[in-house]
Amino acid sequence: MNSVPVDYYVLLSAILFTIGAMGVLIRRNPLIIFMSIELMLNAANLVFVAYASVFKSFSGQIFVFFVIAVAAAEVAVGLALIVQIFKAKKNINIDELNSLKG
């Protein structure tokens, strides 16, 4: 079990997080952005569980459950928002939603 060093997990997590972050910054489709956010969250989850197994501590794993639960709630709210925005604007291009421009 301890054949894979923790550094790989962290590296993988960093790669996943970077992909997620770039997805959030670059893509204009809110659905894709949501998926990228999920990617970032799960990148963080990966680090939690990796270190949890290294330090033999449950708190990291418990934290992951919370993150999963919050992510699910977030997705529920976010998708509802997207549906409502689409109803109002017939468009969900994120760059067109700029009515708060200063």
Partner: protein, 716 residues
């Protein structure tokens, strides 16, 4: 209340009633007077004054029982500060009781007379409500005068001194809204002010004398001052000279001596009983009383005595010459009063205190008589004037009485104002007013010093003393006596003889009994008053009596030469006056027969030697100029225009406009507030560009922020 000395036989405990009897009368009239008829008011006032007279008699009797011993009756403590011990103490000795008798006796007679006089006076002036006020003032005067003569210290005397001054002021200005002819004017109130202010100059002298006395002699109490004075007179005689001379200034003010006599003739603006009581018989003699009271000090400094005598003699002569040129019946008597006061002051100045006091008493009798008779004459003319005016109005229109009154008033407003006091309007009154005529004759003979009237004895005693010690005073007084007889003769011929020179004089009516009876009492006193101090062995009663207080003086026997000269001169003067005014009585509108032969001298007499004008030129006009200068230049232009308007207001305006408004406010506070606004605007203009509306750029910012913070945390 307790007796400070062991003598107690007699009625000394009554002493406070000297003051409180008139005060009681005053209060009754002041509070209930409006419910009383004139008769009740007059009776209350006369009884109050009469009660003071009764007390005076009892006190004098008690003093005589005690052989003239001084008795003090302490009534109240007044001021006790350090070594200053002032009490309200009544002093009963032969001198003070003599003054009390004169004041309350003559005062009571004048109160009674005034009931009749004021009854008509207030009606001629259409001010009937003022009747009560007159008697309140008269009672107040009696009270103040009693404080003056009964005081045991110079300060208590000064209280009375000021009190009578106040009453004098109030009564001169009694008809304050009129002039002496009843026209509306401030002449009477100006006369009152003149009297008050002139007296103030004299009071200043009195006060300085009082302060010096306290500083160097350590007391105000008479006996203590007299005890301390001789030692000071040895070591520092100038102190006593200064005290006596400053006191003389006070005397000159109150007793109308040169140079402060000018108020007395104007004081005739008061109703005639006032002229008689205050400005002839009693108040003006306060100065004579003061010098007599201070005899112990004056005898220490012959120089001061000499000055007092010269002032008195000068006044006697000077005023007598002015009286010759006067036309107003009361003005003649006023100058005569000044002249007679000069006799008294000269007498007490020479050290002839008994003679001075003797003349004071007889003068009170005959001058009160003369003034009151003059009042009777004036009212008689006034009655004649009104009766005649009514008569004429009746003939012309035959309308109701009220209407006549009105017409009459109009006539007075527009036409020539009738002066009932002008002797040129009189003449022939001996037929229409016989009682007054005989009373006036008695007064005149007494004043002129004709044997055996009271004035003869008292004046002669003064002249005799003067002839022995002060020849210059003697000659001045003798000439003054000559003038006295002359102007009184002139007055008698002008007023009572010849033909009436006006309708009013033709229709003049005799005065009622309430006025003539007191006059008869005074006339009797004017005839027999000389018996008080006859210059024969064993008859110097007043001398012995006063001797208890001011030291025994040798009673001088009658000197036939002095008496002969003065009587001869008086008779000669009356003869000359008959020659000028009696033989060819004055016609209406004719100028005075003295005017031609005397020329400018008579003009001077007529115009009172231009003394009033002189005072105006020397004191009053410069004073007005200085006050105008102070008011206009110093106060208005300098303080108001320059200091207030220019300096203070200007500085304030400059400060608020330039410094505060322009700089502090506009450029400081305003500018800061504006800068805050513009700065916020520009900052936000920059910052709003960040709010570009692209969610992804916000996300990038968040990411960069997280990276930066994490980087900082990792690499710190």
């Amino acid at each position: 209340m307790h007796l400070s000395e062991s003598v107690s036989t007699g009625f000394f405990f009554l002493a406070p009633w000297l003051v409180f009897a008139p005060i009681t009368g005053l209060l009754i009239n002041a509070i209930f007077g409006k419910y009383f008829s004139e008769k009740v008011v007059g009776t209350v006032a006369s009884l109050a004054s009469g009660a003071a007279f009764v007390v005076s008699v009892l006190l004098a009797y008690s003093v005589s029982l005690n052989h003239g011993e001084v008795v003090r009756w302490q009534f109240a403590e007044w001021i006790h500060v350090g070594t200053l011990q002032l009490d309200w103490t009544f002093r009963m000795d032969s001198l003070s009781t003599t003054m009390m008798l004169v004041v309350s006796g003559v005062g009571t007679l004048i109160h009674i007379y005034a009931i009749g006089y004021m009854h008509e006076d207030v009606r001629f002036k259409h001010e009937e409500g003022r009747f009560t006020r007159f008697f309140i003032f008269l009672n107040l005067f009696i009270a103040a005068m009693m404080i003056l003569v009964s005081g045991d210290s110079y300060m208590m005397l000064f209280v009375g001194w000021e009190g009578v001054g106040l009453c004098s002021f109030l009564l001169i200005g009694f008809w304050y809204e009129f002039d002496t002819l009843g026209r509306s004017s401030w002449a009477n109130s100006n006369a009152a002010k003149k009297a008050f202010i002139t007296n103030r100059v004299g009071d200043f002298g009195f006060l300085i004398a009082g302060f010096l006395m306290f500083w160097y002699l350590g007391s105000f109490q008479f006996d203590e001052v007299f005890k301390a004075a001789p030692a000071i007179a040895e070591s520092a005689p100038w102190v006593i000279v200064a005290i006596t001379l400053f006191m003389l200034v006070g005397v000159a003010g109150k007793s109308a001596q040169i140079p402060l006599y000018i108020w007395l003739p104007d004081a005739m603006a008061g109703p005639t009983p006032v002229s008689a009581l205050i400005h002839a018989a009693t108040m003006v003699t306060a100065g004579v009383y003061l010098v007599t009271r201070s005899a112990a000090i004056y005898t220490l400094v012959p120089q001061a005595q000499y000055i007092v005598a010269m002032v008195g003699a000068g006044t006697a002569l000077f005023a007598a010459t002015i009286a010759v040129g006067q036309y107003d019946i009361k003005k003649v008597l006023a100058y005569s009063t000044i002249s007679q006061l000069g006799f008294m002051v000269a007498a007490v100045g020479m050290g002839a205190y008994v003679a001075g006091m003797f003349h004071l008493i007889t003068h009170a009798f005959f001058k009160a008589l003369l003034f009151l008779s003059a009042g009777s004459v004036i009212l008689g003319l006034e009655r004649g004037h009104h009766a005649h005016a009514h008569h004429a109005a009746h003939d012309d229109h035959g309308k109701g009485k009220k209407k006549e009154e009105k017409n009459h008033g109009h006539e007075e407003e527009h036409g020539e104002v009738f002066d009932p006091g002008d002797m040129r309007n009189m003449g022939g009154l001996r037929k229409t007013m016989p009682v007054t005529f005989w009373l006036y004759m008695i007064g005149t003979l007494a004043l002129a010093g004709i044997f055996p009237f009271a004035g003869f004895w008292s004046k002669d005693e003064i002249l005799l003393d003067a002839s022995l010690h002060f020849p210059s005073v003697y000659w001045q007084l003798t000439i003054a006596a000559f003038f006295t007889a002359f102007y009184m003769g002139r007055q008698i011929w002008m007023v009572f003889f010849g033909e009436a020179r006006s309708d009013a004089a033709k229709h003049a009516e005799e005065s009622p009994k309430v006025m003539t009876v007191p006059l008869m009492v005074l006339a009797v006193l004017s005839v027999v008053g000389g018996a008080l101090n006859l210059p024969f062995e064993g008859f110097h009663n007043l001398g012995h009596w006063l001797g208890h207080t001011i030291g025994e003086v040798e009673g001088l026997p009658l000197n036939l030469q002095v008496a002969g000269i003065s009587t001869a001169l008086a008779l000669l003067a009356i003869l000359i006056s008959w020659f000028l005014y009696g033989r060819n009585p004055l016609k209406a509108g004719q100028i005075d027969p003295l005017k031609k032969p005397l020329g400018f001298v008579f003009t001077g007499m007529e115009n009172k030697w231009f003394v009033d004008e002189g005072y105006f030129a020397v004191i009053i006009n410069p004073f007005k100029k200085i006050s105008a200068f102070l008011a206009d230049v110093i106060d208005w232009r300098f303080w108001h225009d320059f200091v207030h308007d220019t300096v203070i207001l200007g500085t304030y305006n400059w400060l608020s406009e330039i410094a505060l408004n322009k700089y502090a406010d506009q450029k400081g506070i305003d500018a800061f507030a504006n800068w805050l606004g513009t700065a916020t605007q520009s900052v936000s203009a920059t910052l709003r560009k960040l709010q570009n509306g692209f969610v992804r750029s916000y996300a990038l910012s968040v990411l960069l922020g997280v990276v930066l913070i994490l980087g900082y945390l990792i690499f710190k």
